[in-house]
C-alpha cells in the first residue's frame, strides 16, 4: 500500500487535526462532550444567531466532502465518521448543537442506511434539548435504484448543490421551512451518475475493496464502490460522456431551453486534466440538446479515496436556484466570488 499514514485507526482524527490547523480562517473543531471525543467541524462564526443552521455529515474518505464544505454561506457544522462509515448519532447531535442559532437546523445528508439511522436518533436527542431539526435526504444517484423507487437512491456529488442552495437560502434569511424547501428543490432537480475505473483501498484493510478489471469500466458505481448497472469495456471520453448524459437527462425532464448547473467530479485519482476532457464532451452533448450550462464545476469535489473515474451531476435551474447558486461562498472545497 503506497499511502501516507500513521496508524490507520487514527487517520480520521489526525486528518481532522491537520485540517483544522490549516483552515483556521474558515473552520474550528468543536468538542462539547466525551461521548463524541472527535468533536465536529464547524464554521468559524457558527452558530450564527438568527440564522437557520446547516448541518451535514457522513463517512470520511470523500474529501473535500464533508468537512471541506463547512464555511461562509455553506454548512455550519458537519459530523465526521470513520472512513466510509456513518458518524455516530452523538456526532450528529453535536453538529446540530454547533450549528443551532435558535432558528432550527436543516440536516442535509445522503441516503445511506447508517446515516439515516444515526440522524434519526440524533434528531430524537436534539428534540429533548429543544433544537428543531428538519432533514433533506439526497438521492441524486440515478443508477442506485429504478426511477419509481427514487426514495431508495443514494446521495452522491449532487449533495454539493443541495448544500450550496440550502445554505444560501439560510444566509439570505430564509426560515427553516424555506431552507428545507430550497434544499429539497435543489436535490429534486439534480441527477447524478458515476463511472468507476479502478477500485480503492481502505488504509486499515490494506487491499482493494472490490475489483474493476483493467480494460473495463463500471457504469453507475457508487461512492464506496457500490455496484453499478453495467460493467463494460472501457470507452473513450466522448462515449463515456454520452452514457452519462443519457442516464442523467433521461431520468428527469431536462429539455431544450433548460438552464442547468453541471458538476463533474473526479473520484480521487483521475488526473484533473481528464475531467476537463470529459466536461468538454458533456457540455457539447448538452448544448446539442438545447440545454444551456449556466454554471459548471470541474474538479475533485466528492471523491472515494484513490478510486479512478468520475461523476456527473446536473441540476435544472429556475430563477430561485440560480440566485442561490450564484451567491458567494467560502469553504475549503467550494470558493466562489462574484
Amino acid at each position: 500500500m503506497q499511502r501516507i499514514l500513521n496508524n490507520p485507526d487514527n487517520i480520521v482524527d489526525e486528518m481532522l487535526e491537520g485540517f483544522v490547523k490549516c483552515h483556521s480562517d474558515i473552520v474550528k473543531l468543536v468538542k462539547t462532550n466525551d461521548d463524541n471525543p472527535r468533536g465536529v467541524v464547524a464554521a468559524k462564526e457558527a452558530p450564527i444567531a438568527g440564522k437557520v443552521g446547516i448541518v451535514s455529515g457522513g463517512g470520511s474518505g470523500h474529501k473535500p466532502a464533508f468537512v471541506g464544505y463547512v464555511g461562509r454561506n455553506m454548512c455550519d457544522a458537519v459530523a465526521v465518521g470513520e472512513i466510509f462509515s456513518s458518524p455516530t448519532a452523538t456526532a450528529f447531535l453535536d453538529a446540530f448543537r454547533a450549528a443551532n442559532g435558535g432558528k432550527g437546523v436543516a440536516c442535509l445528508y445522503g441516503n445511506y442506511s447508517g446515516d439515516n439511522m444515526n440522524v434519526k436518533m440524533a434528531i430524537k436527542m436534539a428534540k429533548r434539548e429543544g433544537i428543531e431539526v428538519k432533514t433533506v435526504v439526497a438521492n441524486d444517484d440515478v443508477c442506485s435504484a429504478p426511477k419509481d423507487q427514487r426514495e431508495k437512491r443514494r446521495g452522491v456529488a449532487g449533495e454539493i448543490f443541495m448544500w450550496k442552495c440550502g445554505a444560501a437560502k439560510a444566509a439570505k434569511g430564509g426560515n427553516l421551512d424555506e431552507v428545507i424547501e430550497a434544499a429539497q428543490k435543489a436535490i429534486d432537480s439534480t441527477r447524478s451518475v458515476g463511472i468507476g475505473l479502478t477500485p480503492c483501498t481502505l488504509p486499515a484493510v490494506g487491499h482493494p475493496n472490490f475489483e474493476i478489471k483493467e480494460g473495463t469500466m463500471e457504469v453507475g458505481i457508487g461512492h464506496h464502490g457500490e455496484p453499478g448497472v453495467e460493467v463494460c469495456p472501457i470507452e473513450n471520453a466522448e462515449n463515456m460522456a454520452k452514457r452519462m448524459v443519457d442516464l442523467v437527462v433521461n431520468d428527469y425532464p431536462f429539455t431544450s431551453g433548460d438552464e442547468v448547473a453541471v458538476l463533474v467530479s473526479g473520484l480521487g485519482a483521475t488526473p484533473v486534466m481528464e475531467l476537463y476532457v470529459l466536461y468538454n464532451e458533456i457540455e457539447k452533448l448538452l448544448v446539442a440538446q438545447g440545454i444551456k450550462v449556466y454554471r459548471s464545476y470541474v474538479g475533485n469535489y466528492f471523491t472515494s479515496l484513490e478510486m479512478m473515474g468520475a461523476t456527473l451531476s446536473v441540476m435544472k435551474l429556475d430563477d430561485e436556484l440560480k440566485e442561490l447558486l450564484d451567491m458567494e461562498a467560502y469553504s475549503m472545497g467550494f470558493k466562489q466570488q462574484l
Binding site: 461521548d35 463524541n36 463517512g59 465518521g81 470513520e82 466510509f84 462509515s85 456513518s86 458518524p87 455516530t88 448519532a89 452523538t90 456526532a91 442506511s113 447508517g114 439515516n116 439511522m117 444515526n118 434519526k120 436518533m121 481502505l202 486499515a204 484493510v205 475493496n209 472490490f210 464506496h224 464502490g225 457500490e226 455496484p227
Partner: protein, 214 residues
Amino acid sequence: MSSIKNQNGRGILLSMVHAIQENKQYLGDVDGLIGDGDHGMNMNKGFTLYEQQLGENETTLSDGLFDLGTVLMNKIGGSMGPIYGTIFMEMSDASQDADEITLPLFAKMMEAALEGLYGIIDARPGDKTLVDTLYPAVQSLKASAESGRDFVQALEDMAAAAEKGKDSTKDMVAKYGRSSRLGERSRGVLDAGATSCCVILKAMADGMIQQLKN
C-alpha cells in the same frame, strides 16, 4: 431456578464482551471474504469500550444493556452502532422495571429488539444480514414461552436456532450492506453480522444459563 435476578447482570454482559473479544479475528475473517474485513475490529472496539466503562462495577442486566447500547451507538457509528445499539437499548427498555427476568419477559425483550431493529433497517429474513440470526432466535423463544418450556432449555433452543439461522446465510445472496456489491458472488459465505449476532446470543444464553443453574 426459573428466573434471573435483574441485578445480576454483570456476568451475562461480560460473557457477551468476552465472546466478541475472542471472536474478533474470526469475525474479521468472515467479513473479509465478501465485505471489507473490519467487522471484528468494529465490534471489538465497541464491546471493549463498554468493558472499560463498566470496570469493577456491578450492574443490572437492564442497565448494562442500556450502557452497552449507548456505547455502541456513540462510539462505533456506521450501521452497526445503531443496529446493535437499538437491539440492546430496546431489550433494556422492555425489562427496566423488572426485578426478575422470566422466560416470558426475556422473550418480550427479544421481540422488542427485533421490532426496534425493523424500525431502522429494511432487511428482513432471507436478505443475508443479522436478521437471519435474530429472527429465528426470537421465534424459538416466543414458542418456548408460549408452551411454558423450561428457561434453560428455551435458551439452549434459542442458541441452536440462532446458529441454524446464521448458517442459513451461507446460501443467501446479500441485498444490504457492503457485500450486496457482489450479488450472486456473495453466495457460499457466511454473513458477518449474522455471525456476530450468533456469537452474542450464544454468549448471552450461556451467561443466563449459568445464573439459572446457580
